[in-house]
Point group: C2
Chain length 326, copies 2
């Protein structure tokens, strides 16, 4: 009895989820749903159908958990509540400020239809959030730091691509080594945005474009770059393809806290990921197992990673994890 | 409405739990229970009673959760099931091979009396176990490594103290840097016991004792030292007191796994602890909060850290953790 997975949206994350399903013997990919023409979408799993999203809207697809792979700005706020009334769902909604509203919408839709959904699953939000919660609960008298990178920020890469004269861009977020070092030593420094991360852009400019203007527009772009030290490199299309075709990422949650005067402890959770979307897809698929199980137990409504007892994401039994992993 | 904590056993761990209670505003220490004469036990919290364990056995002490601080060899297998029939309990049972049996005994006692208990709570077993479970569930096609140290192993220190002519010993477990490096690089090496850790002993010998014999007995001791490279230093009592009076520890759980061919990810969870018992006590106290809440919800029986949704260990509400930590 495999858990039947549907994927809505077949971009980088959708492909990452597809890869993750293949690594889990108790799961099977039933279908990929797309807003594009299904004929134009070629997936990597033999014998699995690509269907239109309108099929999904009928509400009678044979899937246990629908993984919704969409953007947090406009897709997920609309799609996750809508499909949570028809299917068990999971998404990677990452607009931190709008989590309460999204949670409530998904909760209402799911509860009134006997469905279960996890929102904001992945590594941040997701595994990093869990580590912040564990650490702050264990050491209430402390402070947490989150560093991202070295890795590709797709939001920042997109922002640069919108600049006139830019053909392509890959933006890397890089933690400042001195800041990391201080935090790891338990010094609990106060750090500005600029002191925590630097940004490095690899840009393919259109022929004849004014590179000085592009560089200036990047470095002064509010929210995205103005508060950071940014390095800009202009490269060729060939170099972009050769050196920047993967989406590595990672980072660290570091927490430092005291249990009595002068007695300090440092907890660090770090990720080094060859592929951000494949790792994110793998976290989602592990928690999809929890969605399925909770729903069968009659535990309906919206959840986050905080609400999931870790045993629910493992394919092993309680006896097995106590014997082999505890 | 504070959560009322009782501590059974006032050694290093009991004092660590006491320190942790002070850092949590929603908790209060009600009493310390001891097998010694209560008059001989001086605790660090004003106005809290020290009582005999026989008071506890009557079953009507006013505590919400009893933290049982005893040894895993003989104390906990007997004490935790016994007191789980009278109180909600939590312990740090760490004999991995006997976990299933201990779990069953505590489960039976607790369930038949409407009580809740968490066993094997701390950092290993405990936080390290959680990280092994999360990592292996997210990346099923991978391998996990646990390194301990640099830190004091009390079991190994005790073993050396039992050698004839040894007055005192402090044994440090140290990960081998080259092994750590390979694992962090995602090389997934096969490592023998000797290749993973070295052991360093600081020994105070009795006057006139044969140091060469002591050193040899240490280095050849089965299970404890024979499979390791061990360094032995003889020091004075003054040096022991000056340089080795704290109980630092730590270590790392490192997990490396693939999501598709050649696409690798490394997850690392590391602890650097100034005081092993204070950190362990802090983990226990956070999970004591979960014991209390689960019991009030009517969720009885034995649990491990795997069974606890992380939200249960936080003093914050669901809304608060979603808004501020997710």
């Amino acid at each position: 009895m495999s858990i039947k997975i549907g994927i809505l949206g077949y971009g980088n994350l959708g492909r990452g989820v597809e890869a993750a399903v293949k690594k889990n013997d108790d799961m099977v990919l039933k279908a990929v749903y797309t807003r594009r023409s299904p004929d134009s979408v070629k997936i990597r799993t033999d014998g699995v159908e690509v269907k239109t999203v309108s099929e999904l809207e009928k509400g009678n697809e044979d899937i246990d958990v629908l993984v919704i792979c969409g953007g947090s700005a406009t897709d997920l706020p609309e799609m996750t509540p809508k499909f949570a009334s028809l299917y068990n769902v999971i998404d990677s909604f990452d607009t931190h400020a709008r989590v309460p509203e999204h949670f409530k919408n998904v909760d209402t839709a799911a509860k009134s239809n006997g469905k279960t959904g996890i929102i904001s699953c992945g590594w941040d939000p997701g595994m990093f959030s869990l580590n912040r919660l564990y650490a702050t609960s264990i050491l209430p008298d402390g402070k947490d730091y989150t560093f991202w990178g070295r890795g590709v920020s797709q939001g920042h890469s997109d922002a640069v691509r919108r600049i006139d004269g830019v053909k392509d861009c890959r933006q890397y977020t890089i933690p400042v080594p001195e800041a990391l070092e201080k935090v790891r030593n338990g010094e609990n420094p106060e750090l500005t945005t600029r002191q925590k991360h630097t940004r490095e852009c690899f840009v393919v400019a259109e022929e004849g474009a004014d590179k000085a203007r592009i560089e200036n527009e990047i470095k002064t772009m509010p929210n995205y770059f103005a508060d950071y030290d940014t390095v800009v490199h202009f490269i060729s299309e060939e170099e972009m393809k050769r050196d920047h075709s993967t989406l590595p990422h990672g980072g660290s949650v570091i927490y430092s806290g005291e249990t009595s005067d002068g007695v300090n402890h440092v907890i660090e959770y770090s990720l080094k990921l060859d592929s951000n979307p494949e790792f994110t897809g793998s976290v989602i698929i592990a928690f999809a197992r929890a969605v399925y199980r909770l729903n069968r137990e009659g535990n309906f409504g919206a959840k986050t990673v905080f609400d999931i007892a870790p045993a629910y994401i493992s394919p092993l039994s309680g006896d097995e994890i106590r014997s082999h992993i505890l």
